[in-house]
């Protein structure tokens, strides 16, 4: 049964469902309770579930992420909300040195069933310290999983799926997606989190993206279609583990790929995907893999500068066109 709702409401619905069905689940983070959540995701949950299960924390990212790890070790199922990826740096030690390592470092004796939700991305003129896209940094770390739901249905489904995982899961919610409208089937089967989704089919070029740039990529695909260029659009959904097969299947058909990633170009996750495509589909490529990423600049405040720095629909279109014209 499908219900129309926003991405924000979908996350809230998933939280509610999790809190209702499993008493071990609790939410903790800054302003998740009384404030209703910095992005209004947890609005109303404090009233429904009480302060034991919806816990406002001090501005202490390190201790509340670490406590999430400890609570998970101790048998709870915490959902930690780090307000934005920009503040997650303060908890990086706990994430890298504890969450990701405890299982292996202990010789397999422990697992850390922790879910961490993090808002991410730029495009709202929040300036240099509030506009980062650091999902790629997290995707670098063995021992954790990195999810990037880009649709309303995934915002709901992937959170519930993450709560079933025995190892830490980081869910990145691009802040511009919160008002996005879509459909959710709350009775649906749990979603598979380790597979990418093909959002559009075509056989001339493969466009790969995740999270907040899916919208721009779909727009670019529509524009390309007007020129007779039909694109496959792949929404990665999860960065780690990466569903390489879906990407390679598409490239074996199109022979051309454009990767769209809001992170800075150097060392972006798109660079990793490009390397994997080169390694595994070398003979299928008719053209080098192209990347459309953010410009190498701290995110400026002024609107026109911010827009210039972020990936643009026109850039995606011309990157795809160039692949086709240059290489026949």
């Amino acid at each position: 049964m499908l219900t129309q709702m926003t991405y924000r409401e979908a996350v809230r619905a998933a939280l509610r469902q999790a809190l209702r069905s499993d008493p071990r689940v609790f939410l903790m983070g800054e302003d998740v309770g009384r404030y209703g959540g910095a992005f209004a995701v947890s609005h109303g949950l404090l009233a429904e579930f009480g302060p034991e299960r919806i816990r406002d924390t001090p501005l202490s990212e390190s201790v509340f992420v670490g406590a999430g790890i400890g609570a998970a070790l101790g048998g709870a199922r915490p959902i930690v909300e780090i307000m934005t990826v920009n503040f997650s740096m303060l908890a990086m030690d706990q994430i890298l040195n504890n969450a990701a390592t405890l299982r292996h470092m202990s010789g397999g004796q422990f697992n850390v069933p922790l879910v961490v939700r993090v808002a991410t991305g730029g495009g709202r003129q929040m300036a240099a310290q509030h506009s980062h896209s650091l999902e790629g940094w997290y995707a670098h770390i063995p021992g954790i999983q990195v999810l990037t739901p880009a649709t309303v249905a995934d915002a709901y489904g992937m959170l519930l799926a993450a709560l079933r995982e025995p190892d830490p899961v980081f869910i990145f919610e691009h802040a511009t997606l919160y008002p996005l409208e879509g459909e959710v089937d709350e009775t649906a089967e749990p979603v598979e989190i380790r597979r990418a989704a093909v959002r559009r089919s075509g056989s001339d070029v493969t466009l790969v993206t995740y999270g907040g740039t899916l919208g721009k990529t779909m727009q670019a695909a529509d524009l390309l279609a007007q020129d007779g260029i039909e694109a496959d659009v792949i929404d990665l959904r999860t960065l780690r583990p990466l569903d390489r097969s879906t990407i390679l299947d598409s490239i074996s058909k199109t022979h051309r790929a454009v990767l769209v990633d809001e992170a800075w170009r150097t060392g972006s996750f798109a660079a990793e995907i490009s390397a994997q495509i080169m390694e595994n589909a070398f003979d299928d490529l008719d053209a080098p893999v192209a990347r459309v990423c953010s410009a190498e600049v701290p995110m400026p405040y002024a609107k026109h500068l911010e827009t210039a720095a972020l990936p643009k629909v026109e850039e995606i279109v011309s990157a795809a066109q160039e692949l086709i014209s240059r290489h026949g």
């Binding site: 390190s62 790890i69 697992n111």
Partner: protein, 332 residues
Amino acid sequence: MATTSISERTTVDREHGLFLLREMLRIRRFEEKAAEMYSLQKIHGFLHLYIGEEATGVGTMQAFRPEDAIVATYREHGHALARGLPSTVLMAEMFGKATGCSHGHGGSMHFFDVSRRFYGGYAIVGGGLPIAVGLALADKLQNKQRVTACYFGDGAVAEGEFHESLNLAALWKLPVLFLCENNLYAMGTALVRHQAQTDIALKAASYGLASQAVDGMDVLAVEAAAKQAADAVRNGNGPVLLELRTYRFRAHSMSDPDLYRSKEEIEEWKKRDPISLFESRLREWRLLTEVDGTRLEREVAAEIDEAVRFAEASPFEPVEELLKDVSGPLKC
């Protein structure tokens, strides 16, 4: 915040006295053997010895029950031994063998034992405090009357995580017993050089925790203080911090040339060697005989030799299993 000292203790019964002495001696000989093994290149990387601090680990461990949780630091051999992890698997872990308590994945700094709720073993100073807070949080949420023991040094007091952790534990009234083993040095930097306020128990009090400073060289004083504090924590009174004033007789680690302390200072503290102090007390109270002493040494020596033999004979994990345990099934 009175310092409890041995003069307030009257006596202890023979069995318990010998037990405490033996526990401290096991640690001392284990650490000496570890140093020897390191110099013979059986143990590699970092090795941080607990020599001189035995009374704090042994004394405090008496306050904890099997269902409690222990979070320690990289200077954890004493805590692990006192908690009951066998010296064999600890030595094997340091030798990097598959039979080690962490299957050879952790080494000296990362001992783990799920059956004894021994949660490591952290190389990042202050890194274990938030974990301890979380374990206590889980207990509170699940209404389990258990204590989480959180050991750390004076160096950790400088890290943000110390402050965040004490604050949150006090705010949410979590059952953590914070145990600061103040050996006066954060590696090469003396406490007076890294803290404007050197009274650690006072710092804790400023966050709303009940706190006390204890003579860390007096195993009976430590034990008494720890039992009292643990009971308070277990009964839901919120977190407590004990500042255990102690000293390490060896350098920070095997790599440390120990240039920042004077020989005189070390010799001065060695006069308060917790093992010698306790031995003479036990003799004074006629609880320890010459025969006892010799027997203890012999038994401990045999145990340690056995640990080395076990470690030597144990296999290494096959390299094909390199990627095992990065992710996997539910355990907790």
